[in-house]
Amino acid sequence: MVCKGRGPAPRDRGNPLEQLLQHGANALILGGTYALLGIGLTLIFGIMRVVNFTHGELYAFGAYMMYLWVMRLHVNFFVALLLAVALGVALGALIEYVLLRRLRSSDIDTTMLVMIGAWIAMQNTEQLIWSGVAQSISAPFPSQPLQIGHVYIGWDRLFVFVTALALIGLAYYLINRTKLGKAMRATFQDRETAMLMGIDVHLVNTATFAMGSGLAAAAGALLGPVFVVQPSMGDLASLKAFAIVILGGLGNITGATVGGFILAFMEELGAGYISSGFRDGMGFLVIILILIFRPTGLFAQKERIG
């Protein structure tokens, strides 16, 4: 997500409308993965009341798993993608089981400190294993971009977009249509009552964290081949995910989905029309504006923490 990318820059700088359309297309594609990141984080916060600082590290983990399977072990690209997501889910479940389960009755600050510790340890483990050098992953897509009018879209980006949409759909299905999803929503509404109704809250927690982590890992695995992979990539991913989640309202899944796209549009337009150096500062701008004008998020329900 550090956008030193080899992305299809607008080639035709002449026509402002075409330029705008190109930025819009880029933003739409980026927005899908941002939404994945945001949904994962907001799910974990909403249900578990955990500010998950390892979220960006799961994103980096997904990208590095792609690098490992595709570039080092020469596994098929699409199989590698599945493996990366599955390993992200497993790592998330492990983190929940080892670190968070025994802190369930602790306050939000305590879990925050634990998650910060885990974040530092994970990021530096990546640095230790993979070194700080940025790596790239080759993807099996034609290098000639798809051209619609004067708008160019790389095939790799199109694949990212479609897969991200599919995963968003899957997440909605899991949350809204399955029994586990029902248990998750019940826990979100009222933990005590959910427990009284016989819902295994431990299981819900583990499932939530695993699912959120899986979505973050999927975002990383999808964007890793588009940009470059490096150990510090998780930091920006975390910050952006936080911005998206604040934008949509903490714990609000629809908000996070829309928020992901809004942030992507702001970044793309900001980088295109103001200065590319401050692309990554847009998230902060979003947070500031939201806190000034609508502190509970764009899609606030009654939920308000504190």
Binding site: L113, G117, M122, T125, L291, P295, I305, G306
Partner: protein, 350 residues
């Protein structure tokens, strides 16, 4: 007894340059001291109001950059025709401006993020630090970007009878650091024992209750943020004029983590906690440095943070105090040691 212990501590600290012969150790001690001051300022927020600032390094860095720029002089092109030119200013004045600038940003961040409680302040402060780092990196005409600001003059003061005195070298800087640290300590100690400090602790313990008895919670939170940011800015300015070079890496998140871990290990919400934690985490990495690379060190930091939260949740200082108190109780009359004061009160009494 307590007075005696304080005096002994001060004596050890004041005499350190006399018995610490190695300039390297003195350097480690100065850097440790500067970060301890930053940790003390963080403790005011994290320990006494219960708000975790994950962007504390931003205030530290703003202090460093402001003081460096003021003492070096700078110009900003506001428009094509108008140019803001600041001639180099005396370092003492730069230092004061740096503190004011950090305080101003503390006020802004506090005003913004305390509209809503909970995780917001953490996230806002965290992304604020990242944005400040981006600005320092990208505004090359002002900050030199990654090329860093060089040749920052040392702190100098005008003393009657002596004239201008420049804090050059390790020993003068050590005493300068010690002076700032003592002032910071006294400010925090007085603040937390004042009416405002009691209000902060009250809202940390139970915000709803504090509000119900008429404590203007947001006002005190913002006040704590301002004081904390100003103090971190002072530490940053101290750092800039001692190391005499500042680059955008000063805003790295890892320094905030260092401050947090100092406070949490030593004991948040105690006056001595950040000092104990600061000394441990200022000196231990230097010892570790020969044995392990930076990554391994940070991994150890991360794991240590988790372990401390699990096994020593209150930190070293409260744990030691509880231990002492329990012994005394048992010796005196067999009073139930668990019936002693809750930690907040104990912290305050101290």
């Amino acid at each position: 007894m307590r007075r005696l212990a304080t005096a002994a501590w001060l004596l050890v600290l004041v005499s350190a340059p006399l018995w610490l012969r190695s300039p390297y150790f003195l350097h480690v001690l100065i850097i440790t001291g500067i970060f301890t001051i930053a940790a003390m300022s963080l403790n005011l927020l994290l320990g006494y109001t219960g708000q975790l600032s994950l962007g504390h390094v931003a205030f530290f860095g703003i202090g460093a950059y402001t003081s460096a720029l003021m003492s070096l002089g700078f110009d900003i092109d506001l428009t094509d025709t108008f140019k803001l030119v600041v001639e180099p200013k005396p370092v003492a004045l730069s230092f004061a401006v740096a503190i004011a600038a950090s305080a101003l940003f503390g006020w802004l961040i506090g005003r913004l993020s305390f509209k809503v409680r909970g995780a917001y302040f953490v996230i806002v402060s965290l992304s604020f630090a990242e944005v400040v780092r981006l600005v320092a990196l990208n505004w090359v005409s002002l900050t030199q970007g990654p090329m860093a600001l060089n040749n920052i003059p040392p702190v100098s003061v005008w003393l009657p009878g002596i004239g201008e005195y420049r804090f050059l070298g390790k020993v003068p800087n050590y005493y300068l650091m010690l002076a700032v640290a003592v002032v910071s300590y006294v400010v925090i100690a007085r603040l937390v024992r004042s009416r405002a400090g009691r209000a902060m602790i009250a809202l940390r313990e139970n915000e709803a209750l504090a509000t119900s008895v008429g404590v203007d919670v947001t006002r005190y939170l913002v006040l704590a943020t301002i004081v904390s940011a100003a103090m971190a800015g002072a530490a940053g300015a101290l750092y800039a004029h001692y190391v005499r070079i500042v680059d955008p890496d000063i805003f790295l998140f890892i320094y905030t983590v260092t401050m947090v871990i100092m406070v949490v290990t030593g004991g948040k919400g105690t006056l001595a906690g950040p000092i104990v934690g600061g000394i441990i985490f200022g000196i231990v990495p230097q010892v570790l440095r020969d044995m392990a690379g930076p990554e391994v060190q940070w991994i150890i930091y991360g794991i240590l943070m988790i372990v401390i939260v699990y096994f020593l949740p209150k930190g070293i200082v409260p744990a030691l105090r509880d231990g002492l108190q329990r012994r005394r109780h048992v010796r005196d009359a067999g009073i139930d040691p668990l019936a002693s004061a809750p930690p907040a009160e104990a912290a305050q009494r101290r």
